[in-house]
Symmetry: D2
Subunit: 220 residues, 4 copies
């Protein structure tokens, strides 16, 4: 039996990809595609989805998440902008309803696996460096993914180098150097389609959870 899903923010770039990805997956069933102006709570009450995916905007994501939980649907939140305090509040709400939920700033399985791999190797290699490669239009440096990777690795003062060149979309290399050996993890993504396997996995895994999980890497 397929999992019933509402996509909130269905007209956005991530929303459009998500709608297409759900339609293409026989285990998932799209029951609603909402946009700015549609009432989230009314639609959840009417369509009774198992899961609501939110790809909207930072300003509305906290209120959307609360609405989803209050209506007893499982939130799968890809919108960024939630504070740690807000995440904790949402976790309490899910816990008291024994409701599964997932908040993931990065749905790329490849990126999440890279982080887990880096975390795995870190205790065995005291020397490492991250190099991340993005197009010159990217506003922040170092990238959010590289900062999160470094945090997970737990090194004080891990060097992160940012390459900004045309021809790259989003790439990251984590290099570990040891006696006479190097171990390198490299992730390259070229399009937001790369996030869809992670979104689909989240919709399936959220059905088996009884609380709100923050970070796709927790499910791997």
């Amino acid at each position: 039996m397929a999992i019933n899903i509402i996509v909130n923010g269905a007209h956005g770039r991530m929303g459009q990809e998500t709608v297409a990805a759900i339609k293409a997956d026989p285990e998932l069933h799209l029951v609603g595609a909402l946009n700015h102006g549609d009432s989230l709570s009314d639609n959840i009450k009417a369509l009774k989805p198992d899961v609501v995916i939110d790809f909207t905007v930072p300003d509305s994501v906290f209120q959307n998440s609360k609405t989803i939980i209050e209506c007893s649907a499982r939130p799968v939140i890809g919108t960024t902008g939630l504070t740690l305090a807000q995440i904790e509040e949402l976790q309490h709400m899910c816990q008291s309803k024994k409701l599964g939920g997932i908040i993931a700033p990065n749905f790329s399985l490849g990126a999440v696996l890279m982080m887990r791999m880096a975390q795995l190797a870190a205790p065995y290699f005291p020397n490492a460096e991250i190099i991340e490669y993005h197009h010159p239009a990217k506003k922040d440096a170092p990238s959010g993914t590289s900062i999160k990777t470094a945090q997970l690795m737990g090194y004080p003062d891990l060097p992160i180098h940012s390459v900004r060149l045309p021809g790259y979309v989003a790439s990251q290399t984590v290099i570990f150097g040891g006696d006479e050996e190097t171990l390198t993890i490299h992730h390259n993504s070229t399009h937001r389609k790369a996030f869809m396997p992670g979104v689909r996995m989240a919709c399936k895994k959220v059905m088996t959870l009884d609380g709100l999980v923050y970070g796709l890497e927790k499910l791997i």
Copy 2:
């Protein structure tokens, strides 16, 4: 208090590196360095090591391992050539004495971590390929490490490609390809010194085991 160690096969290339590595580690203490012609059992009885490391030859490794266990020392076996049946017999011997032991065909932490990483990613990426790079003098292709990696990944018919070119010592790349993303793990080693951190780790971890473990990746 340092761990007391005998190195068996101390004149060989791996043995010499091991002797140097143990001397350089304050947590390890070399009590004996044996070679062809020395009695292993007499020396264990006289020197009472906590651990005996064996880097000898395929023909003698099974008898050496039995002797080490019978004398109640913990075996750390780097010599290749043990059959699965022999490994099982040694495991039974260790189990009945509640004695720790480690058999590891590959002591490179980098290589072992690469295998674990490949195993971690395999369920999420149905498409992958291994390319391994070695010097042209290498006799076997594909390499033992690439075959073992493929087994751990559990893919039927995973392509393995072997590059044989001067300029390489031992390198391996595992590539996972997904929708609009690739995830690549690369290990490069240039000298047998690369095995020493793994040998030293094994000497320390074997003290906490109460059975015989096959494969360094089990300890990571």
Copy 3:
């Protein structure tokens, strides 16, 4: 003074990119965008372009090229399918009119530079291998670019390995192995936009030629 250009095959995927690229370049001026059904000779006579770019189909490319030259415009041909005999005939036609022309099966400057680099290094490194990476939908293996690279390198029996995995668009690595060193050239392209700098360069360089050149690498 800008160079006046007709694009023949303007509705195709390459044609559309070409039209956009010409419009964005102040040194180039689009005077016509022709499609299936438009008369090439009538338009050349009416619009008097300096250059006609052809991105049509293998069946019509030879006739188109002859028409362009007969009408005294300079051909820049990206369509594949010309035989060596046909290319020679077109070269004779250009020569007798002292007219510049370019036929290029690959307009990627990066790919063409990779080939030139490989050709440069080949005499100094007797051992090499090419690995090319493409999406699984690619029908031919090895790729045309890898075969052409190998020809330029002039090695008998150069190994070419083809990786077919999702996540790749078009990549190629040329590895040279020597004593204790490796030299590697890697080209990665992610979209047909990558061909546009080469198309624009060809339109400019063709104005300075007095004969027909086959292969963009001749102009680098």
Copy 4:
């Protein structure tokens, strides 16, 4: 007929490799191996070499080079430390005697080819970056090779990033980024043996020169 060669500085690390490399090459013939204390001019007069290779120390390289030229042997100088003014003076000396000579701060053919390749691609890719990887014991950053590469490429303000990690000997990557494509050149060397093909080539090419050449890349 083999080329007769004296190695000056034969006991040093580069000198020892050079002596071995010359002995292994049937086109080259070692007639003398000199060390600190031996008279260079007396030996050249007595042994009449075609070529004198100098791998000594910065303090003596200028005087050695002058002596070699005065004695009408061809200098192949690998010792660093010559100033541009000194190189010019040596060039005048060679010119007036119509004597071939080579001064090369880097005899790695791979590194020299990497520089030539980077120079070749630079006019076509306005955006680039160099990343060089060395062991943490290396004192200077960025490396001399990366600085020389950047000079040859002729970019103002080309970013050079230095990675210092165990496990690397000497590696460098030059990345060119364009619209939807990247072109990367990577050189990796693991031992000073990597310089020997360049030393042997210099001994042969110097016989055909009638002046002093600075930089092995000029001969490629």
